[in-house]
Symmetry: C2
Subunit: 326 residues, 2 copies
């Protein structure tokens, strides 16, 4: 999906190098697993996290930058993301990810557990190579922890009929926004911008990540299966209650409580009813307002960055991300 | 199980501190998961890896040591071990570990995946706090990778009727011996011994780890269920072919090939037949010779360490480990 970056040839070029580096680092003894990992990398998403990293590093002074270091850090961000995806797919029992069979559907859960773990170690290899001795080691470890705590809390609160908007926002802050924040922060820091820009970058990344995840959760209610390439409604059936539902439930508790009471006994047909009710009672509309608010916060902060072509591109990209249909 | 160290009060004392530190670091938002993790720590094994770490650090100069650092590194070793145990239990579908319900049997595989991941991050937190900027960061990342590759290769070669002794030794070198080697190496290094002793320590640890794992695999064939606290024979039914079987098969291929051909269709009754055949054809006896060889190598290297009470204790412990019945 690096075609997504056709209008940003410099970024696209760097992302291609990141992709090659990841493939190189995923060499393992077992050829099947290696192939599956490389296929996963190539079928990959948009490499959004490395891309944001490079946008922010572009705000710095190129003469002070170590381009090899930047490529490796960008790769570490994608690997951390991939590791959690491999583990996510175990939990969701997902047959497909980005149109390609998941590691767990090909090799079983057991191999997927260790494959995800292995990706974590490749992530650590890269950050040790590039930032050992710096405070960013601890920043990375903390980000990884927040990410996992977000996932863990989401899991632990499944089928929780008392799930709140606040709890949801907390969880996505950990599981998604943290890594976007890290990507932007590290881009600014290792791109040798200023400490002020690094702080702004971290905040911008967090807002983008929040908006991104909310938007993703909205898609479960609006996109059709073919377009999304993953089964819609799976979150609800699995007891993961996302923002549109939580907001609709807040507005009309009596309408939704019968469905919540069913817990894991809920049927797919009932899930479809819930989907329609969420839309009817404004859940999607309200959730879009949340996404919009985080996007606006991000855009306003971007406006406060030093004026440059990069700032312009960043603004365009951020706006574009929130009108995506896939 | 820290009672195992009753005859080594100084070590026991340090291990108690390690145990408390681990509990402190396992504070997570979800009280159920936190309780389960703390229970796992307390029900814990013998804390063998931290113990070997301390034995080797005791060979150094106490005046040059940072005792807080040593406790943290010892804890990191146990946490890395615990992380792989939590993920192992997912794969083995184990209901019990050390007599306590496993994370996966209590909370499901999904939570167990993230809980194991979380333990990896706590491991990284500790090594970043204690050895950031040192070459030992990369040593740890590599050890973790070898450990996972060992597990992954073992998984990927399940039900492989061509499984060889060499392949088995490779896998246990990664999945078990690597961490014992790291424990001894880090004990020597952070205990401020000499580079020569550190090299010896690493080798001793590796030999102890090899012997330890072989011995563990022998127990599947000899111990009774109650004593072991885990279902015997599970390895065979799950297609993990360990040393006693591989050696018996090498000696009598015709006897064993019918069972191997059944692959995952093998029944528990057939597994019991295999167990008897392995013993009958000398598999256990031959495997014990392998364990003995690694133990002897370890003991000979220990003899080359500087003469001290610690050396004496280390020798005693190593010998004792290989006559354990649990």
């Amino acid at each position: 999906m690096l075609t997504y970056w056709n209008n940003y040839p410099t970024i696209q070029n760097k992302l291609q190098t990141v992709c090659s580096l990841i493939e190189e680092r995923l060499k393992v003894e077992n050829p099947d697993i290696q192939d599956a990992l490389i296929e996963m990398t190539q079928a990959g998403g948009k490499f959004l996290r490395p891309a944001f990293f490079f946008f922010f590093s572009d705000l710095g002074n190129p003469e002070k930058q170590d381009s090899d270091q930047l490529i490796k850090i960008a790769a570490s961000l994608e690997l951390l993301h991939m590791a959690t995806l491999v583990h996510d797919d175990i939990i969701d029992d997902s047959p497909l990810r980005r149109g390609v069979s998941t590691i767990q559907s090909r090799f079983g859960k057991d191999i997927a557990v260790y494959t995800g773990d292995l990706l974590f170690t490749v992530f650590f290899d890269l950050i040790i190579e590039t930032m050992n001795a710096s405070e960013y080691m601890a920043v990375n470890a903390l980000a990884m922890k927040q990410l996992l705590l977000g996932e863990l809390n989401q899991m632990a609160s499944r089928y929780n009929s008392k799930g709140s908007v606040e709890n949801y926002l907390n969880n996505i802050n950990g599981k998604t926004a943290e890594l976007f924040s890290l990507a932007c922060l590290e881009g600014a820091a290792f791109g040798q911008t200023s400490p002020e820009i690094a702080t702004q970058a971290s905040e911008i990344g967090r807002n983008i990540g929040m908006a991104f995840q909310i938007f993703d959760d909205i898609l479960d209610y609006t996109a059709d299966k073919k377009e999304l390439k993953k089964p819609v409604l799976e979150d609800f059936v699995q007891g993961v209650y996302t923002l549109p539902l939580l907001l609709a439930k807040e507005a009309q508790p009596d309408v939704f409580s019968p469905y919540f009471e069913k817990g894991s006994q809920v049927t797919l047909a009932e899930a479809e009813e819930v989907m329609k009710l969420v839309i009817k009672h404004g859940g999607v509309k309200q959730a879009k307002k949340y996404a919009q608010r985080y996007t606006n916060d991000a855009l306003e902060s971007i406006d406060r960055l030093p004026k440059s072509d990069t700032r312009k591109a960043l603004k365009k990209l951020t706006t574009q991300l929130l009108i995506r249909t896939y």
